[in-house]
Symmetry: C2
DNA sequence: CGGCATCCTAGTTGATACTG
DNA sequence: CAGTATCAACTAGGATGCCG
């Protein structure tokens, strides 16, 4: 039997223009979101730790990403009123439930990077030759 | 089918700036890629069928997406020299191996869309409250 | 330390129209 | 039918500098 979510979970369908579920999927797949999830997979982490763990993020973009994920209930932000200030981020239960799939995707990417680059070269050689 | 892919996850690391695996993961997560995969999950499909199945794609963007995926060896494009012209797209074995994870993501998005929107409202109420 | 505010650019997307 | 071409627009992302 085909278990269509559309029936069970209501009216959400990523194939439909403007459907919230599509926007959410796009969030999950955007440039930095998966990397933030990976950075938080082992528990709460500080801002600077996340920043250092993700090669190439600027503070501004990291902040934006973290805020969006917090707003969506995927991670929790805790401020410790100390000097110097300390802020920790950690995945919520909801956020934790996507971690698995995102890890699968990252590992797939790492595992198949070589063959994809090879496919790319083959394609370019055929279509772009000289 | 060769197994030259990095069996270990040591060679490629998505956390590293400029690593090809990161670019590949970003490709998988871009605006239209997952939707194309979903449109092709049941076998070969024609251009117009894919276009009609994905709400809001323009031909230009769809073509771009399909070309990129073809170049990366994730799908195959077959031209049938008929009148009228017929072109079919289908996932390769490599492409088929990411379909599962992408479906998981889309279903997760559909299943949790409601609670995420609710989390969003809660957040806005707390932080935007006047 | 952990952010905002600003400005700016570069790549992406979209609307529209046209073609093999 | 299955695209391509062109132009316009948008916006994510980066550089820089200041603040609690």
């Amino acid at each position: 039997m085909d278990t269509e979510d559309a029936g069970v979970n209501g009216q959400f369908d990523v194939m439909t223009l403007g459907c919230p579920s599509r926007l959410i999927m796009q969030r999950l797949g955007d440039k930095w979101t998966p990397l933030v999830f990976l950075a938080l997979k082992d528990g709460p982490r500080r801002f600077s730790h996340i920043r250092d763990g993700i090669g190439g993020v600027t503070p501004k973009v990291l902040t934006q990403t973290l805020r969006t994920l917090e707003r969506d209930g995927l991670l929790k932000r805790t401020i410790y009123p100390e000097v110097p200030p300390r802020v920790e981020y950690e995945l919520t239960a909801l956020g934790g439930s996507v971690l698995g799939p995102l890890e699968v995707l990252s590992q797939w990417s790492q595992s198949h990077a070589a063959s994809i680059m090879r496919a790319r070269d083959d394609y370019d050689e055929l279509h772009d030759a000289q």
